[in-house]
């Protein structure tokens, strides 16, 4: 692209809708999950690295900001997973009616939030028991 030309679609002229918001969220969670990949590999390397390296990850995970990141990754993984399944249905040509789009959209959002809450409850329970 040689010249500054307006980008389409002009997001600012659209009313925010569930469908577009969820679409943006799919991209957003995808990018955010990619940023988590180095941390996942760092964790594996720490298990290979020995007790001291592992302890360092353990301490790091208890930092409030890192805990917040982990919570974000859990929600992102659930959301991207559920909405990804919604995408796969679209890929085979199903679920394109407006009514279905909204129904599946709310289902995906509800499932992702519900699974995140369930995971947090289970995680807190395990931490308390440890």
């Amino acid at each position: 692209m040689q010249k500054e030309r307006p980008l389409s679609p002009h997001l600012q002229v659209y009313k925010p809708q569930l469908t577009s918001m969820l679409s943006i969220l799919h991209r957003g969670t995808g990018i955010f999950l990619s940023l988590g990949a180095p941390f996942l590999v760092y964790w594996l390397a720490a298990i290979a690295g020995g007790p001291q390296a592992y302890e360092k990850v353990h301490t790091l995970a208890q930092n409030w900001f890192v805990t917040l990141l982990l919570l974000g990754w859990v929600f992102s993984l659930y959301y991207h997973l559920c909405n990804g399944i919604r995408h796969l249905f679209w890929d085979v040509g199903r679920g394109f009616d407006i009514e279905d789009l909204y129904k599946s959209g709310w289902m995906v959002l509800g499932a992702a939030l519900g699974l995140t809450v369930l995971t947090v409850i289970l995680a807190v329970g395990r931490m308390g028991g440890a």
Partner: protein, 126 residues
């Protein structure tokens, strides 16, 4: 009348000639990641509060090591395809576009290798 098959007319189109393969492998890894992600989340949850030795024994089993590497490889490949689309959509400065595309591909390859060597080390040591 053309004697070319419908397939030969469709293959290799698009600006880069490999758009279908990109789309296809994104779906293949997406489907693989459905069971792998669920396994990963359940595993990490069960490892909360585990000691270092528990973690080593867990990752040292050939079964868990295999699933972990499948998860990591599928996730890195899938993430790399997704980031490529985002970069192609929003970064229109030629040199920056190319640099970022190379960066995510090199980073994915390096992370995959680092993960593989780490998991191998645990499996062989356990």
């Amino acid at each position: 009348m053309s004697l070319r098959s419908p397939l030969s007319k469709a293959v290799g189109l698009g600006s880069a000639g490999h758009g279908f393969s990109h789309w296809w492998w994104q779906r293949v890894t997406a489907i693989a990641l459905i069971p792998l992600s669920i396994w990963f989340l359940v595993s990490v949850l069960s490892l909360i509060g585990a000691s270092y030795n528990d973690a080593v024994v867990w990752l040292g089993s050939a079964f868990n090591a295999t699933l972990m590497l499948l998860f990591v490889f599928a996730a890195l490949f899938h993430g790399q395809t997704g980031l490529q689309v985002v970069i192609e959509d929003y970064i229109h400065t030629k040199w920056l576009n190319l640099s970022l595309l190379l960066l995510i591909k090199f980073a994915a390859a390096a992370l995959a290798l680092y993960a593989a060597l780490s998991v191998f080390k645990v499996v062989l040591g356990a």
